[in-house]
Symmetry: C2
Subunit: 238 residues, 2 copies
DNA sequence: GACGGCATACCGACCAGTTGGTATGTCACT
DNA sequence: AGTGACATACCAACTGGTCGGTATGCCGTC
């Protein structure tokens, strides 16, 4: 049924090329010819597998969802027994991904949706699926954390999960604007601090009225190998 | 020096058209011809004022900085005597801007930089100037708030100002993906709560261990017409 | 096990329209 | 008569997309 030519068929090569090229120059600026050249296939192959450029856009977003889905599913942040720690470890994991050239760690669908939200509904929807689908994988942990820590909040697990995505997407934009990842890492630090505060974690970070003078030094220390001593309390309330 | 033909010269019309068209379809997908048509001028006028499309991109970003700079400079959030309240009022102001069609309230430079960060350094730099320049206008208030509230933190006013921009930019992406502003408003709510928590504001929002059952109801109440009872302290500035 | 029939995967020349950009001209002021 | 502010006409390169063709595998039939 699907053992056509061999290992890497043209479709897969085109999809893989699309991720790389579109993340570098955007969707609109990426031409079909360039995509074919990058994938090492001909235009005939392109239009054999996709009805047009727009369909490739959708397929690329879906492919992105699969790739990132697998990456996050296999990531170690799930290992923590404590739900809140899983959430925080997710944030750390995202921060850890901010390495290498910008096109390698920024988000395909975040880029694409900005160019297509008004002009290509099919692509926009694929991007929406990708983002909200990924956010949904965080909801259970956030909810569990809320339960475990007895958090009664006027925000929902879903809204926090989406907010986390917003911060990450925004961090990518700042990174692209400044040409470096540091600014993105700083923003993710703020996100982590926010989550800690939401859940009442007393980290060594934000304290009031104490004029701690070592504060400025351990700026990034909290993420390299950070591991909270353990769940404060296994118990739940409610 | 600059009273050429009349009220709205071609350059200004092109710039204004650029804001609208680029925000709708992105920079790459916007053609010079379309820009000219939208501005009601000819191609000759375009290339008379700009060396090429890239130069228009830079000029559009600079124009955007001027426009938004004036908007925010004239905005009422500066009126509060309390620095923290100015910062929070800024957040509210940003949230209040989330009205009408998406292309009307989303950010030009946030869109452009995603398409040009690797291919057009001049545009990227103009976008960077726009974002960091705007963030810088928040720094003084944040710093003053930190002083007034005696906050000793391991984050800087600058990093918080930039984080606020990241959240807003990310919120725009989510809004574009979902086709609505609500998701962006929710994210800005989270941002507000974060700032409140950073500064130790005891708002009616996130409480722990109290099983408040009205929490779920007043979900959006806190921003529609929110106005803290008044400055906590008329206190000094610098 | 050779056969024709048929589908899939891919090739690459070609097309019409669009792209950013140019060359030249007009015209109102100064 | 020169200059800034446009307009018109035009172009070469590129755009997304088409189309006829080929190579190869799988199938039931004889």
């Amino acid at each position: 049924m699907s053992r056509p030519t061999a290992k890497t068929d043209a479709r897969t090569k085109l999809l893989e090329a699309a991720l790389s090229v579109i993340r570098t120059k955007g969707y609109s600026a990426t031409s079909v010819d360039e995509l074919c050249a990058a994938a090492g296939v001909t235009k005939g192959a392109f239009f054999h597998h996709f009805k047009g450029k727009a369909e490739l856009g959708v397929a690329a977003a879906d492919h992105w969802s699969e790739m990132t889905g697998a990456l996050f599913a296999a990531a170690p942040y799930h290992d923590h027994a404590d739900a809140l720690e899983r959430v925080l470890a997710y944030v750390d994991f995202r921060k850890g991904l901010l390495r290498g050239p910008l096109p390698d760690f920024t988000c395909l669908v975040g880029t694409m949706v900005q160019e297509t939200y008004e002009t290509a509904p099919a692509i926009r929807d694929a991007c929406k699926r990708s983002i909200t689908g990924h956010a949904a994988t965080l909801e259970a942990d956030i909810e569990a954390a809320m339960r475990e820590r007895s958090i009664a909040a006027d925000w929902t697990a879903k809204s926090l999960a989406l907010h986390m995505q917003a911060v990450i997407q925004g961090a990518f934009i700042l990174a692209k604007a400044t040409g470096g990842a540091k600014i993105a890492a700083d923003s993710i630090d703020h996100l982590r601090r926010y989550i800690e505060m939401l859940f009442g974690v007393e980290s060594g970070q934000t304290k009031r009225m104490e004029t701690r003078r070592e504060a400025d030094q351990d700026h990034r220390a909290h993420l390299v190998g950070r591991r909270d001593p353990g769940p404060r309390r296994t118990g739940r309330r409610r």
